[in-house]
Structure formats: structure tokens, C-alpha cells
Symmetry: C2
Subunit: 497 residues, 2 copies
Amino acid sequence: MSPDHNSGYPEESLDPQDWDELRSLGRQMIDDMLSYLQTVRERPVWSPMPEDVRAAFQEPLPRSPAKPSDVYRDFRKNVLPYPTGNIHPRFWGWVIGTGTPFGMLAEMLAAGMNPNCGGFDQASTLVERQVIDWAKEMLGYPSQASGLLVNGGSMANLVGLAVARHSKADVDMRREGLQGISRRMTLYSSVETHSSVSKAAEILGLGSQSLRLVKTREDFSVDIKALAAAIQADREEGLKPFCVVGNAGTINTGAIDDLDGLADLCQKEDLWFHVDGAFGALAALSPRLRELVKGMERADSVAFDLHKWMYIPYDVGCTLVRSEPVHRGTFSLVPAYLARTKRGTSAGPTPFNEYGIELSRSFKALKVWMSLKEHGVDKYGRLIEQNVDQAQYVAERVETSRELELIAPVPLNVVCFRFFSPELDEPALDRLNEELLLRLQERGAAVLNSTKLHGKYCLRAAITNHRTRREDLDLLIQEVIALGKGILDEGFIGNPR
Amino acid sequence: MSPDHNSGYPEESLDPQDWDELRSLGRQMIDDMLSYLQTVRERPVWSPMPEDVRAAFQEPLPRSPAKPSDVYRDFRKNVLPYPTGNIHPRFWGWVIGTGTPFGMLAEMLAAGMNPNCGGFDQASTLVERQVIDWAKEMLGYPSQASGLLVNGGSMANLVGLAVARHSKADVDMRREGLQGISRRMTLYSSVETHSSVSKAAEILGLGSQSLRLVKTREDFSVDIKALAAAIQADREEGLKPFCVVGNAGTINTGAIDDLDGLADLCQKEDLWFHVDGAFGALAALSPRLRELVKGMERADSVAFDLHKWMYIPYDVGCTLVRSEPVHRGTFSLVPAYLARTKRGTSAGPTPFNEYGIELSRSFKALKVWMSLKEHGVDKYGRLIEQNVDQAQYVAERVETSRELELIAPVPLNVVCFRFFSPELDEPALDRLNEELLLRLQERGAAVLNSTKLHGKYCLRAAITNHRTRREDLDLLIQEVIALGKGILDEGFIGNPR
């Protein structure tokens, strides 16, 4: 190519033409967003998008520049009014955290500094290292353990299970891979385990059929006897059991496995013990609830989210690994262009890229660091208790209402229930509750999601929301009953028994 | 647990006590951060951290709350002054993007809305879908392809290679995994390929020894004849070649493989063709440079970063996959609690969690969407050309300087060179340049990194920086020569020839 660079003066940049104008726009954004969050309670939880707004997202690739204020206007008009809804006090679908105003500001600071947190001698690496240290303390995990911030629970499980596979393999897993092994490696968990564990088994090349999903007890915690028997049977078949995944808070009902029992079993059987504590691990922050996750501190690895029950804005999760050398040994890969030095930019204490999949890494740690400083960990413990108490309250309201039925125990913050009428058979109850869930969302009154337990379609509320008040839950109960009765009265369901 | 929730009134939340106070603090942050970015040129590129600042990151887990303004003060004192340096006009180490002020504001908006972009009927999903559509257009990739925003190049390669493995396996890869296959699956790329491809092969359970790293030609592009021979040899051994990874911009020198040649080979051999275009793929944005990556549009999957040569704040990368059904078929996993609906919150056009590893996903798409609207894609094309021209300029300055030696061709934006003195033998030249690199960083004059080419230690400048001006490159040349001469004069190196 002919270098025609002399024509390139003066250089262009992506910095603003007018910094003061951008400063005003930035201040306006702050005002708008804080007002948006301050008034969220006054708006519907979720709204369907009008067709003309949908159509706006068909615009072709912009070729020419637009004024920042015009771009912001597009955002205000077409994006901001149609969020998922999880910032709202009455959003309890799936397990989605709420975020905080200060967390939002911290993300802005992180994006402005824009460090690459793959390593380097810089503040962001020290911030992340400190956040990992705090996370260990929060969960009662050994202080010499290593850790890594990742996007969320799915990645956190993948990282933990990759370390497990590496550590327990008969071969040099990094070199040979699973293609070189003679005995199929198998891992174990309960049928209530989150889909991300299956996904991790698939990504890692273990295959979903290497994941044995063992039955649960009445309370939806894993049946350890059945688990031990499955391990025994696989050993007899000549397979190689290598890992057990314990649940600290299952997705469906918030059930917590007997983690001490699982730790004992893993010790006896020489298996890696991984805990998926996506939200439940954080119960350790409450002195009252900590007992529920006892045994977690004995795990070889723990995965959990900070964007769920720590209410940090998306995204941030964490993997902790008991053995730092095994953790680093699974991922460390340092070619010439990444050579570390004793001085200069490439020095620094913790090359986080050697502990996971990503090489370039964003400054997720800052929002966690600033949030923990803002509130102090004790307050997080109280809020987690508050959510658990709120779930108990919903369960009580359900149990004392003739029109509602509780479908599962409520050990933590998840309530599975349904509208009930003795006139309807099971398929009709399913259909009614399905319609009820959609209307509840469409009205913007509350967002729950659904699941199936014992074959029954249930409404499911998972409370990881720092904005929820008792009055919101009263409104939920009232709305569910009114909607259920309305659907019954309409004859929508048909087929009365 | 005894429900003592009646004691819980009034509820606590993580919202501010005083919204106006937070509003003022937020405005202050905007002013400070924009000034920080506006004046970045006046500061050193990188500075080592003083010991007392390091010590501040040893503070124990905060138990009690602190005022937001005090937390911000900690950030200003201990974090903000010690960035990686990539926001600075004279940072050219590794391949790290610069970020933009407007991108910073977009991240704040995304964190405030805090949507979960795993799917759902909401604006953020449509924004991401539109960004993917734009990305296809930008790269000249087929419009029916699917895509996913991910953290960066490492994840983008992992996703692409997971789809390749799934698509080309003899067995049901998701169910059986690699443990069930009889013929070892092998993939091919050049020795100049980025470490993330090795890492992906390891994570996927293929093992690094299944990755055949083929020699390159003089220009550091893959030797396609040698590659074809390696495939042939493996077939004769009874192995199963399944994928070729082409490079659009190697990390060491920015070399671009003959992508059309690789596409032909893959077609003939029935192999998956994946392109790692971490930064080089974006050359397609420039009408002048587009020809360099011809053939990329024929790939089965393409991985590239938006936080590198699109200068978007960390983190955001992208995988595009030619076949939407194969892409989704690799990852889609929908248990009861994720059931999609035709109406309500769980409706929506594109459940992105079925196209990758993550279930909960952050709103990375917004900063890309707003940045493309702000500048228009043509300007990105011009800036990419500007960086390429700047690299050519450095190469010329190196070639016309007696004290400097160019070590590799400069096809794109990467320059590998060294300080040279005929008095020194190779080991001494290595030591001198190593010391020179560290002093350059420590002085805060510029950040380059190093690599090894033909056994020689080189200084490496990769220009993905929209703030760089010609004067910055003049300063680089001047500093490198002065430092090199100074080190020579000190007799630091010893051993004159």
C-alpha cells in the first residue's frame, strides 16, 4: 500500500469538538438518570414496546456523524423507557439484581479510566485483588485462595469446573485434552442444578451425558445417598468420577444442598467439590442465615454473582479457588508478547489473565469496591435478610389465602406458588396461571417468572431487590388474586371440572 | 428459621438518603472525568505506584457505611492517578484501545438502566440486534448471519471455535462430548496465532496438541502449502481435521493471512473456517484497506474486538457466525424456568443467551450503538487509516535512522523495531532494548511492549489510538534514540563486541 500519510494533517480524534458542550450533556444525563431511578416506583415494572419504537431499531448503519445530544435524545426516546424492569421494586422474575445509583456512577468512572485489567502494574489490578480478598472474607473462604471476577454465574461455574477438570484428570489436560483419556470423566449434581452447569460441561467437552443429575429430597436439596450410589456405580463401570457440584440456592426454589455432607463425600471419594452459589452463597453475609451455607467454605471452588444478591449493576460474578497454583496452572499462558517484567507497566502483583479465559479485562472491580465502601458489608447482610423475610411474608400470605397455593418450601428468597381453584383440573390450572403471569407483566404490576415443580406450572418470585417494600408484596398478592378470579370469571380457561 | 420479619420496618434500601447530594456528586464526577480525559496528554503515559498508595489496598473489608463523597475521594486519590495508560496518546503497548468520553457516558446510561440482555422483550435486546446487524455490514459479512457481543477477542474465539467443534463433530458433541469420539479432532493455524486460540482449544477439551501451528512465510502470514500438507498428514494418520483459524492481523506484526486462499482450502477440505480478526478485521471499515482482509466474508465465523480498533471502552468483542441455526444449536439450552412466552417480558426477538455461554448479560451494546451514531462508521474508517499511516510513518523514521532497525514488515498498524548499535552482539542488543523499554515506560514518555521475532528482542508499537498525533511519534523516535544512546554510554550493557 502506498503510504499517503502526509495528507493526514491535522489528525482527527474521537474526542469532542467542544468539551464544555459534552460536559453539559453529561451533567444532564446524570440528572436524568438519577431522576429516572428516583421515580422508578411510579412507572410500570415492564411495558411492551410499541411497533414504531421497534421499527426505529431497523435503521441502517450510520455513516455520518450525529450530535451527541441527538444520539442521547434517541436513547431517551427509544431505549430508556423499555428496560427489563429489574430496577423496579416489584420485579422478582428469574434471579436478577437491581443495581444502585452509586454503582451506576462507578461504572462511569471505570469506563473513563478504561484500564485493561488483564494484569499490569496499575491501580485497577490492586482494586480487583482487594475485592477478591474481601469476597473471601465475606464467604468465610480461606484467605490464601485465589479468585477472579467474571461476567456472572455461568462464567464463574465454567472457570471453576475447568479448574476441576484440569486438577483431577489422569492426563495433562491442557496438552492432551479429553481426546486423550481412557476413562470417561463424570460429574455429579442434583436435578435442580442450574443449566449453566450443563452448559459448562458441554463447553468443556465433557458432554452433558457426563453430568449425572441426581434426584432430590422433599426439600429439593440433593439426595446424598443417591449421589454416593451414582458415583459408586460409575466407578464400577470403569468411569472416572471427578467432581460434585453443590447448590447454595437452587434456581427453582432456593434449596440449599447439605454442603458439609457433600464436602465429606468429596473428601472420602477424592473428588473436586464445586459450589454453585450464584445467589445463595451471599447468605453468608448475614449472621442469621450463614448457617444455611455451612460447608461452602470447604469447597475447592465457589462460583457466585455480585450482580444478583449484592445488587451491583451488570455484570460481575466471581470464582474463588482454594488452591492458587492449581487455578493459575489451569489457565496461565504467557507468550513472548505478554512477557512480564520486574519493572514498568508489565510488572504488577496479579496477572489476572492467567486465572481465566479473558486476556483483556474490564474494570468490573471498581463498582464492587466502591459499593462495599459506600454501604459496608453489614448492610448487605441486613438487606439479604430483608429479602428472605419478605419471601417468608409472601409464603405466609399465600398459605393464608384460599385462592393461592404454595408449591415448595421457602428456605431462602424464592417463593413458588399458584392461583388455585378447586373447580379446575391440573391442565386448566396450568393454563390459568400461565395467562395470569402474562397479564401481571403486561399490566406492569409486577414481574414474576414461571417454573414447573412436580409437573405443576407455578408462579415464581425470587426477591433479590433492595427496593422492595412490604406494600409491594401486598400489591402482588392482591393483583394475583384479582387476575386469577378475573380469568376464572371470563371463562377463559374453559373446562371446569 | 424463625421468620422475624415483622421487626423489619421500615425497609432499608441501597438508594441514597439524599438524592440531590448524589446528583451534585455525579455532576462533579462528570466534570472531573471529562477534565481528566481532556488533559491526559499533559500527564505521563504510565507511572509506577508509590508504596503508600499500594498499601491503601490492604484495608480490611469495610463493615460500616461511608459517605459517597468520601468513597469518591479514595478513588480520586488512589485509583484514578494510576491507570494502565491506554487512554494516553502515546500508549501503543500490546493492542489496547483508547476509549472515548462519549463511550464513558454511554456506559453510565447502560449501568443505570441495568437491563439483563440475556433475552427478554426490551429495548436493549433490539439495540444489540441492531449492533450485530451493523457489524455484519461493517465487515461485509452475510446479512443472514447471527452474532453475539462478548467480552473480547478471547471469548469471541472461544465461541466461534465451540460452534466449529459442534458443527464438524462425528458425534452429538453436546451430549457425548469429546470423550465419545474415536478420531482426534485437529485444528490449524499459523505459529503467529494469538494465544487465545490455544486457550480456547484447551478450554474446549481439544488439548493444545490438537492445535497445529504451521510455519509462516517471510511476511509472517501462514504458509498455506505447509498448512495443506499438515492437514493431509493428519488425515493419513486417521485424525479428523475440522477447522482452520485464519489471522486478520497477527498480534506480533499485524500480518494478515491469505484469507481467500484459506477459504478455498477449507471449502475443498470441508473444514470450518474461523477468522481471528481481533483488530485487523476492522481494516474492512476503510475503503483503502478493505482489500487486505478480502476472504474474511467467506469465513464460517469471525471474531473481533470493538474495544480495540473501534476505541469503545472496555469490554466488548463480537463473534459472527454464518449459520444461525448452527450457532444457536451449539448453545441453546432452555429449562423450565427460562421458558419463553409469546407475550410478556419473556417474549422478544432474540434470546441472546441461546447463542453463547452467558445467561445474564450486560448492556455492552449501548456504548457501541451510541458511538456509531455519534461518529458514523466512515470516521472510524478514517481513524483506522490514520493509525495505519502513523505506523508507516514510524517505520520510515526507523528505516532512515542509523540507530534504529526495523525487524518486520509493517502491513497494518504494528511496528517491530529496536535500537541498534554495531558494537553490540545479539545478547547485548536484547539486554539494551529490554532496559530501554522499561525506562521509556518509567519516564512516562510512551508505552510500547516487546516481542521476539527471529530470536531478536524487539520494541513493538501497535497503534489503535485515536489520540495519537504525528508529534507523539516524533517524540517516541527521539526518546528511543536518546535512551538507547544513554544506556550505551553508561556502559550498562557491558560486553562491547
